[in-house]
Amino acid sequence: MILMVGILEDPVICYLMNYCVDMEVDFAFVNLNQLGYDIFFDQEYWYFPGCPPFSHQVVTGVFNRALFSWEYASILQQKLFVQLFDWMDFRYPNVLNRPQDTFSNLSKPLQLRWASYFDHWVVPYTWILSQSEVRINTPSIIKSVSSARSVVNDQYHQEHVDLYEPVQVQPVLDGLNIRLHLCGEKGFATSIQSDSLDYRYHRDSNTFEDYHDLPEAFMMQSIEFCKKIGLLFCGIDLILHKNKYYFLEANPSPGYTYFEKNLPHFCISSSLVDYLKGQP
C-alpha cells in the first residue's frame, strides 16, 4: 500500500494518483484537510471513512506533498501532523521525500555551497547580500535566498541597488533550461527553450524537448549529489551556457507533472511508483 500525503488542490499528487488508478496500483490518500476530521491514525492503524483499518506495516512507501503551512489548523490536527511527520521522518520505508530532508532547499546558499563540492557542473558566481548598497556592473538577477518563490522578471545592469532583506544576486545566464528529475538511481532530463528570464512564468513561449542527453558521468555525479543531500526524488534546475552546465537549484518537491505532461511517456511517474512500492 502506498500512502499519498497532501491536499486535493495539489495537481501533482492528483496526477500521480490518477496514474496509480490507471496502473491499478493500491494507494490511500491522506488528505491533510481531512486529517483529524474523517481520517485518523494511531500507533498501529490508519482509519479511513468507509474502509476497514489497515496497519502501518502494510505501507510500502509514502509520497509526501505536505507543503502547506498548518498555522491555522486545530490543535488535534497539529498534533496529528507532527506525529505523521515523525512517521515519515523516522519510521516508514521509502518516503519521497522525508520531511527533514526537504529543508535543505530552504537555504539556497547552503544548496549552492553543497553543489560547489561537485565539479561536473558550475555553480554561478553568487552574492548573498543584506542591508547593503551595491553597484551592479554586469547583467544580473536578484532572487530569494529561501524556498519562498521569487519571480525573476527583471535584470539589473550598470545601476545602484539598495538591498534590505537577504537576497541572492547572480549573473544572467543565457542558454538552454534543463530540468533533471532524479528518482533513486534513475534520471530524466528535459530541456526547455524559452525567451524569458524565468521560463516557469511564461509557459506559452516554451518549447519542450524530450530526453535531453546528459553525459552518463554527469548523471552519476548528480545522483551522488542528491544522495548526499538526502533527496531521493528531486528536480534539479540547470542551464547549459557556453557549453557548461550551471547548477541553479535542487527542488525537493518538484512539480514534475508540468514536464511529464509535455512528454510522450510516463517515465517519472513510473519510477516514483516503483520506488514507493519498494521496487527501486
Binding site: 507532527v82 523516522f90 555551497r113 560547489s116 554561478p124 558566481y125 543584506s130
Partner: protein, 255 residues
C-alpha cells in the same frame, strides 16, 4: 574574531563572551539575536566563498542558539518571507565559519525533529531513561546535570558513566553543546540547547574549549560512538516495544 549571537536570557553565552574579551583579550563581537536583521551581510559563493558581517571579515567562531530560529521568539519578524530568508541565512552561516556552536541544521526545521515522541525514543534507545513513556521536558527543576562541550564535559562524578549516552543523544539531535538534566533516580528529565544556571567551573570549561577551537588545537570531531549512533552495545540495548519503532532501513543514509 569570536562572534556571539545572544538572546537576552543567555547568561552563559554572555559570561563566556566577556571572559574571552576581558580576561583573554581576544577580539569578540556580541550581537543580540533579534538585531540580526539589521546587520549588513555580504557573502560570496562560487568564488572565494568569503563573507563579511557588519564589516567583519575574520570571524573564526560563531556562537548561537539554533532553537531561537525555530521558536516563537523569532516570530517577531512579521513577514513569513523575511523569516524564511533569515532562517536561510543562518543555515548558510552554520556551514560558513570554521566553528559554529550550535549550528542550525536544515533537518531541525522538521516539526518531528525536536518532538517529544522522538526525544523519548532517543533517550530510551541511549539508555538515559528506563521507560519509553517517561515524561520528558526541556527544562525543569532537576537534581544533577551534564554539560557537553563537544568532546569536553562537566558533571559530578556520579554521572560520569552517562556521558557517552548523553553525547550520543546530542549527536542524534545535531547538537555540539548542550545540557541534560537528571532526576534523583539518575534518569533524564530534560535537556537544553543553551546552558542554564552556569557555575564558574562550567563557564571556565566552556571558555577553555572555545579557546582550543580558536587556536585550532587538535579537535576530534563529534561523531557517533558506534556505527548506528547508539551508545550501548547491542546485547544490552533496551528493546523498543514493537517493530514499528525500528529505524528506517531501505534508504538509510549518512552524509
Amino acid at each position: 574574531m569570536f562572534m556571539f549571537l545572544l538572546e537576552p536570557n543567555d547568561h552563559f553565552g554572555y559570561q563566556c563572551a566577556l571572559k574571552i574579551k576581558d580576561q583573554c583579550h581576544l577580539p569578540v563581537k556580541i550581537f543580540k539575536t533579534q538585531d540580526l536583521r539589521h546587520l549588513s551581510i555580504s557573502g560570496e559563493i562560487g568564488g572565494s566563498n568569503s563573507m563579511t558581517v557588519n564589516g567583519i571579515s575574520d570571524i573564526e567562531l560563531l556562537y548561537m542558539n539554533p532553537y531561537y530560529f525555530l521558536s516563537s521568539m523569532f516570530r517577531d519578524i512579521e513577514s513569513e518571507y523575511l523569516r524564511l530568508s533569515w532562517v536561510s541565512v543562518m543555515i548558510w552561516f552554520s556551514i560558513s565559519f570554521r566553528h559554529v556552536i550550535n549550528p542550525l541544521v536544515p533537518a531541525m526545521l522538521s516539526p518531528s525533529y525536536f518532538d517529544t515522541h522522538r526525544l523519548r525514543r532517543l533517550a530510551f534507545q541511549h539508555g538515559l531513561v528506563r521507560h519509553l513513556e517517561k515524561p520528558f521536558r526541556r527544562f525543569r527543576q532537576h537534581s544533577e546535570t551534564i554539560c557537553i562541550f563537544g568532546q569536553a564535559y562537566e558533571c559530578c562524578s556520579e554521572l560520569d558513566h552517562l556521558v557517552p549516552a548523553v553525547r550520543a543523544f546530542f549527536n542524534d539531535l545535531g547538537l555540539l553543546w548542550g545540557q541534560c538534566f537528571f532526576d534523583d533516580d539518575l534518569q533524564l528529565m530534560g535537556y537544553s540547547i543553551s546552558i542554564r544556571s552556569p557555575s564558574k567551573s562550567v563557564v571556565a570549561r566552556a571558555v577553555a574549549v572555545l579557546l582550543d577551537l580558536y587556536y585550532q588545537k587538535p579537535v576530534i570531531p563529534l561523531k557517533p560512538l558506534s556505527h548506528s549512533g547508539l551508545s550501548l552495545p547491542e546485547s544490552i540495548r533496551p528493546q523498543l516495544p514493537n517493530s514499528l519503532y525500528q529505524r528506517k532501513t531501505s534508504d538509510d543514509r549518512v552524509i
